[in-house]
Amino acid sequence: MLPVITTAGLTKHYGTVHALTDLTVEVGAGVTGLVGANGAGKSTLIKILLGLLEPTGGHASVLGHDIEQGGQEIRRLVGYMPEHDCLPPDVSASDFVVHMARMSGLGSSAARERAADVLRHVGLDEERYRPMGGYSTGMKQRAKLAQALAHDPQLVFLDEPTNGLDPAARTDMLRLVERIGSDFGIAVLVTSHLLGELEQVSDHVIVLDGGHLLRSSATGDFLRRTGSLLVEVVGTETERDRLGEALARRGLTCRPRGPMVSIDPPPPELAREGAAHDLIRDVAADLGLGLMRLQPDRGHLEDVFLQEGVTRA
């Protein structure tokens, strides 16, 4: 399958500020997370791909169109939800989404039908007829998302869609982003500075740091098992430490992590499948401790930053 976005050596400098440096990535279908701290170059990349900013160097193509010649064609096929507020306060979401659909080339009746559909999908009900100035942040984010989907794009750029949302609204928004990628069949490039969020929804993650590509790979690779085990027993830190010390005497390398004991990949004599698990069970039983949790440890997106930090230093 053709990649949705490809960039080659994409660079953007504002004077001495290097927003993007020699970025070469590919983005496929489904949900792709674009992660990085504030100022890592996420928004700059999206604006370049939309043709709103000219790159200082390098090439990129979106949906098979080159960004330099095919800007207009790209903007016809792509939806964009900006990070900042962009809604006029005196217009209702319904009217606004209809207008925006027409600005993408839909006819009057098609725009009305699409706007109603899309507003329903993002979860704006009766309030769609009220002026958007009175909306909560969550409703504004939904309206912004609706206008990005109004013309049934093949690809949407969602810039920080969870910004300013409370935990419940955040979960809703993430579920919606996931549905756009899977059920709606629209490729998604979603940015966030919160790594944990993108772990949940994206198929692929691109990590930017200071305008450089840190890593680009499937989300599963980031979350692969590390070979370590996590054990939690009933009780307080005293019980945790009793278990840890007992396990250490049996040849496992243990360290406390929060209320749990983290056990490094077991030595060769215990590497047999399930041997370490058996040992932990027996030790806990001998000590009379109640096992609450015994699970393989997984990597996190944060680890990318930690590892890269180590290799760079």
């Binding site: 604006k47 207009q72 900006p82 207008h99 925006m100 080339g105 006819g107 999908h121 206008q147 013309h151």
Partner: protein, 297 residues
């Protein structure tokens, strides 16, 4: 699967169709631009916006139509051989209303999208920043032209009903319409440029009022003083400095029924035309540059 009852009391069932793709036709840029133009034109009169935003434009329009209505009434009831005021001069006499309309409505078309940053959503769509600025300007110019056209047409119909000479009236009316178009182009450019820079509505309105009403007042005063001091070319020359003095100067030169302090003739006529064109073009370029700059942020 539950069966849908037939013939029972339930007549409607809501189905969740899931996400539906759109594979219908999509308009080209020209049609999108036309849609944007029509929306802008409607918004300039508060149509398709809140009820409150219709008050100002229609109040001003009513005030500018009222004298014409009275004139037409007088004209039809009493015998007369000509209109008491020429078509072009009527617009000149009601210039305060035209200026106020431009000053109050230009921020609607030029400040709103920039202030609320919805410009970004437009520019992420097929129309580019240049096309967007030009279409907005066209909406404003046509809205202004229509504002001056309504009383003109009313006067014209009244004049014909009163049995005034048709060829005279047609000539005067057509001259006025052309002059009004030029005025609309210029004033839309000036108020548009001002509104796109000063994003707060209040500042934009005050800026436009300064450029249209205050400046014209100053120019008119200087023109009158120079004329009474006998400095005729100074009086005509100062007229290049404000949109309304350009309008009346050109109307005077074209014999469209406006008397100026000193007649505009000779080399002053091309100068007036040139300044009008340059000023309009300058405002338009400024407007385009402004939207392009905002779009790349």
């Amino acid at each position: 699967m539950p069966e849908i009852p037939t013939g029972g009391p339930r007549t409607g069932v809501i189905h969740d169709l899931g996400y539906r793709r759109y594979d219908g036709p999509r308009d080209g840029s020209a049609t999108i631009a036309r849609t944007l133009f029509t929306t802008g034109l409607r918004h300039a009169y508060g149509l398709g916006r809140s009820g409150r935003s219709k008050v100002m434009p229609f109040l001003l329009l009513a005030m500018s139509v009222l004298p014409a209505t009275i004139l037409v009434g007088v004209l039809v009831l009493t015998p007369a051989t000509s209109l008491p005021v020429s078509y072009a001069d009527y617009t000149n006499q009601t210039q305060l209303l035209v200026s106020l309309f431009a000053a109050s409505q230009a921020p609607v078309l030029f400040s709103r999208d920039l202030r609320h940053r919805s410009i970004v959503l437009y520019l992420a769509r097929p129309l580019g920043a240049t096309a967007f600025a030009l279409v907005r300007w066209a909406s404003m110019a046509v809205a202004l032209w229509a504002f001056t056209l309504v009383p003109t047409v009313l006067l014209f119909v009244g004049a014909l009903l009163a049995g005034l000479d048709t060829s005279d009236q047609v000539a005067g009316m057509l001259k006025a319409v052309v002059l009004q178009a030029g005025l609309a182009v210029l004033v839309a450019g000036i108020t548009g440029a001002i509104s796109s820079v000063s994003l707060r509505r209040g500042f934009a309105v005050v800026g436009s009022v300064m450029a249209l009403i205050v400046l014209t007042g100053v120019v008119t005063a200087v023109q009158a003083i120079s004329a009474s001091e006998g400095a005729e070319s100074a009086s005509v020359g100062v007229g290049l400095a404000s949109p309304w003095s350009l309008y009346s100067g050109l109307a005077n030169a074209w014999d469209a029924g406006i008397t100026t302090q000193v007649p505009v003739d000779g080399a002053w006529v091309p100068a007036y035309v040139l300044v009008t064109l340059l000023l309009s073009a300058g405002c338009l370029l400024g407007l385009v540059a402004r939207f392009q700059k905002v779009g790349s942020r």
